[in-house]
């Protein structure tokens, strides 16, 4: 494939003492793709994500994110990515607008741009009535959508979502994925970790991690075919079981 690459990873290793969290990972992510990391807790998804965001330094390997080297150009990477953490990444005691303004500000956007984009965003999300309400007073699903919108507020090239839909009802989850598709269609590359198998099927490609290694990497349809499975859940169970027997 000669599509433009957003991320290239070659022989990534991350050790914590004797524990190998990422064991020789090699993969590419293409621009505008929705790329899913799938794996049990402790399989190394979050570690990989943190290295790609510049939150953690790899032990070895060649890694490029948005065209920049993770060892030497962390700051350039940070300006070009968005990040949404497992937990809530917004402040409950700030209003909807204040949250947007704060995050816009730390990415160095001009106040004039922040105001304009914030107004558009608030209208798009249907939050006009609660614009100046504290975040703690609005429902969880709205917060989740707002958190994602804030993560892409500064128009990053890549956005990282670390288990973004934990604790959200299926309807909101579906709406949330609609927003992800919208962002991807605008050319933003999306890296998402999850352990919901139905979500895995929404991704363009998934990478299944077991015990720090990449066990399989392909489109969901192809994976189901290769492993002769009924759905992604089957694929995952087959791979996870194989790993434990080794």
């Amino acid at each position: 494939m000669d599509k433009e690459k957003a991320i290239t990873v070659k022989n990534l290793v991350k050790k914590f003492g004797n524990f190998i969290a990422n064991d020789n990972l090699t993969f590419d992510v293409y621009k505008g793709e929705i790329f899913g990391f799938l794996g049990a807790n402790g399989a190394g998804k979050t570690t990989t994500l943190k290295i790609l965001c510049g939150l953690s330094k790899p032990t070895s390997g060649q890694i490029n994110v948005a065209g920049f080297n993770v060892y030497t150009e962390t700051n350039k990477i940070k300006n070009n990515i968005g990040y949404m953490s497992q937990k809530f990444s917004l402040y409950e005691d700030l209003t909807v607008y204040e949250n947007i303004r704060f995050y816009g500000g730390i990415y160095g956007l001009k106040l004039k741009d922040i105001r304009k984009r914030a107004d558009e965003l608030i209208q798009k999300l249907g939050l006009t009535n609660v614009r100046n309400e504290l975040l703690s007073s609005i429902p969880l699903g709205w917060k989740q959508k707002l958190a994602f919108s804030v993560a892409i507020f500064h128009h990053p090239k890549i956005v990282f979502l670390d288990e973004p839909t934990g604790g959200v009802d299926p309807v909101t989850r579906r709406e949330f994925w609609d927003m992800i598709y919208d962002a991807a269609s605008e050319g933003i590359t999306i890296i998402v970790t999850t352990h919901y198998m139905d979500e895995a099927e929404y991704c363009n490609r998934v990478c299944i991690m077991v015990d720090g290694r990449i066990e399989a990497i392909d489109t969901p349809a192809q994976l189901i075919k290769t492993y002769n499975a009924a759905n992604m859940n089957d694929v995952f169970i087959q791979l996870a079981r194989k790993a434990k027997q080794q």
Partner: protein, 368 residues
Amino acid sequence: MKKFIGFVKKEYYHIIRDPRTLFVLIAMPIAQILLFGYVITNEIKNASIGILDHSNDEITKQISSKILSSGYFKLDASINSEQEIHEAFRKGKIKEVIVFEPHFSEKLKKEGTAKIQIIADASDPNIANLLTNYTEAIIRNYSNSITTQNTQISLITPEVRMLYNSELKGAYLFVPGIIAMLLMLISALMTSISITREKELGTMEVLLASPLNPFTVIAGKVTPYLMLSFIDACLILLTGYFVFNVPVNGSIILLLAECLLFIFMALSLGILISTATKSQQAAMLISLVALMLPTILLSGFIFPVENMPLILQYLCKIMPPKYFINIVRTIMLKGGNLSTLWSDTLILAGMSIFFILVSVRKYKIRLE
């Protein structure tokens, strides 16, 4: 710089939207100083005593009336026998009994000496000490006055003058200590809590994944508490001055500058605590146990360092509040200036730099 201001603004919202905490932060200094100033007092007024006078003559009556008119003591019950002494003590009605031996004035005239026994309830040793000291002083005074009348030998009479706090006021002792305690509490405790809170919420990761410099994050979190602590220091000084008449004899600018230095030290300690802990509760526990107790016990705030066992004295030497309390006392009460305080100031500055360096190191390790 713009990002930094935006960050401080966010911190300001956090503080202002938690009115309970804000109220505590503002009201606590005043409440503390009033409590300490009024409750813990070393002054003695109207302590109940008993007098057992076996001789009941002119001189013993004179001495008794001198003691009772001093204002420190009041006669609770006249005691008529040795047996009654114990009973009175056990009932807790009196703190001290003064016993005159039989034929007091006769002996004094013939032999030139007579005995007075002072018995004190030492279940509270501090008060017992004070009471006996006061009583002895009054009796010595009286005996001096009669010896100089009757004989021509001039006796050497020591005159004790209490410098810097001539009225032995408790507030003079406590104001510097309370400043140290509260600055430590607010600076170290509040910063460590507010930083660990971002860790707990997961927002810290987002901040670190943003182009914000990690040091901007820390500086932004610390700045509002620096200002709050400074306001509190001023509040304590003002309350001390207007309510207890605790003066500032030295340079007020130097005093405030030293306060800033100590706040800076406490903030760096708070940052250090937050790099070592993951939850707000752990941060709070460490701050309270590891900081508050030494600040109160091992700093000379209440208990003099010089009277401690040697090991504790060495331990006190590594407690920042010890130096700060000394600095504040020297400036406020003795009117000292930098030429006498430079070593304490340097030690505090050195400690701050040490804590900052350790935090930066730990912070970097965490990122790797």
